[in-house]
Symmetry: C2
Amino acid sequence: MPWRVEIEDLPDVARGAAFLGSGGGGNPYIGRLMVERAIRETGRPLELLTLDELPDDALVIPTAMMGAPTCIVEKLPEGMEAARSLQRLEEHLGRKATATMPIEAGGVNSMIPLVVGLRLGLPIVDADGMGRAFPELFHETFHIYGVSGTPMVVSNDHGDATLVETRDNIMMEWLARGITIRMGGVAYIAEYAMDGATAKRVSVDGTIGMALRIGRAIREAREQHRDPFAGLIDALEGTTYAPAEVIFSGKIVEVYRRTEEGFAKGTVVIRELGDAPNEMVIDFQNENLIAMVGGEVVAVVPNLINILDAETAEPITTEELRYGQRVTVMVVSVPPIMRTPEALAVWGPRPFGFDVDFVELA
Amino acid sequence: MPWRVEIEDLPDVARGAAFLGSGGGGNPYIGRLMVERAIRETGRPLELLTLDELPDDALVIPTAMMGAPTCIVEKLPEGMEAARSLQRLEEHLGRKATATMPIEAGGVNSMIPLVVGLRLGLPIVDADGMGRAFPELFHETFHIYGVSGTPMVVSNDHGDATLVETRDNIMMEWLARGITIRMGGVAYIAEYAMDGATAKRVSVDGTIGMALRIGRAIREAREQHRDPFAGLIDALEGTTYAPAEVIFSGKIVEVYRRTEEGFAKGTVVIRELGDAPNEMVIDFQNENLIAMVGGEVVAVVPNLINILDAETAEPITTEELRYGQRVTVMVVSVPPIMRTPEALAVWGPRPFGFDVDFVELA
């Protein structure tokens, strides 16, 4: 059954998407405002298709914002940008899309396809290609399980557009990143066009619904004056995002951040309160990638590593990390499709340059 | 009347094109070899159309190699690359090209369209869009007189291709340069597609014929043991590339060169022989842009500033400049279409950052 996201659910979806984003995926607040405006202006309901409702011969065109989160918060979208990328790709393919879907679950990029669907009157598929956020365009289950990302469209808010066709998805990322940088650090993309049968095989299922569940659990725990971290762990139990556990709490004492090669890269250091405190060091490239305490690795990709406000459990994206914030760090297991040997070969710790093995959460 | 370039004329055309290139346009030797091979492999004659023979409703698609000359000499083309960019643009336009033409007169880029024409069996128009070589894609009479450079195709020898559509030709250059850099510093382009009537209005006429005339004058003077510089000046007299004069002779004592932002940028210092020698300093960005002696400007763009071997008058492109070379520097006036106020606003000395006025050669 198609299910509906009501306008009052949007803050929960945005919060949950930021959680799945694992520090990346861009600012969820901006995305939520865009969706609210699109609902109001179009008068359309926000209806989601589940993967199994998608006809095998449907044409799905995923859409997203591309760029460093540090740039995304400085260049707010007007609303039709990603829709225009989709339309440009339709023109090239000579065929209309049946639906759009997110390429990643995270912040603004869980929201962009909702805006596209509302603006163009297209259904949105409740699934995505990362099951979280990741920094590069080949960090996709779509890529891992054999779909070509190109032809893709990279466009901006000034009517500049490029249609990119490459030998492989690695070169696609390389060229699209260069174009995004020259467009000012932010662009809007339509890529990995595929049929419904393929989408069913290669997507991470139900991640918008999962975002709603996560965001709602945090809010309800707060409203009921329960521990939001415990509420979150309970809500995830029995889902494909389990187990989840709290691994650290403390105060941010250092943030190194640079926008480099089109990515927000850096390191955050969190110190425990009290005497003889331990320090956790987390490295990020748009998303949190690895967490270490005393030089020992305690969490790595693709598991989610989340830095949350210590009081409210509100997810803090990497571009929002600040000295002095009191935070709690959670690690969360991810669905099986994201932990296969093929998947770990693309986004396990090693491809990011960390000489450690992936470890399943017990 | 269409005219024919014979295989034995090619060394003269290549030498003359290098001269028109004013230090840029890429290595002419590589281009000549490509044309020779294309003549041999296709068995086709190399026929050029004059601008006035072009039907008004013809579709002309100019083709070129894009990139820093320092990279071009390291990544030799196979022969079909630029032809594939043209074909990709034809596909997008839904129409076959009637002819191709050079975008610039200079080194390899006078030759690439000849290769494209031979390989695809297309006529080549004896004209171009710069009347010399210049570093950027908006340094075109096509741009100056109102033609949109996009849709354009930027592709490489690995089957990667991008179709670029931008708000203006400045953004086209910016994106295409970024793509070229990410393609390894060299790419193949098809751009400024236009009809025959437009091509007649906005092109610099007869520059392939001019290259042949220049290259032949240098060779014949050498063969007849005459001064090749005097021979060259005589050959240019009465053409649109007159007057021409020798402005300096000496030895190269310094070459600073860096490949930066996809361009070969630098400075060369030439010292006179003898006591109390003057020094000439020439700044280049792919092409020679300005020549100064004792801090005084003696030649500026768009006039040609050519560094030639002091013995043979062989043009030396900027990537081939070396310490110790004995050289003679010539400055050459350019056709009126290249010296209008509109043209000087794009490629006079000021847009290149030099705070001096353009001065006509007497």
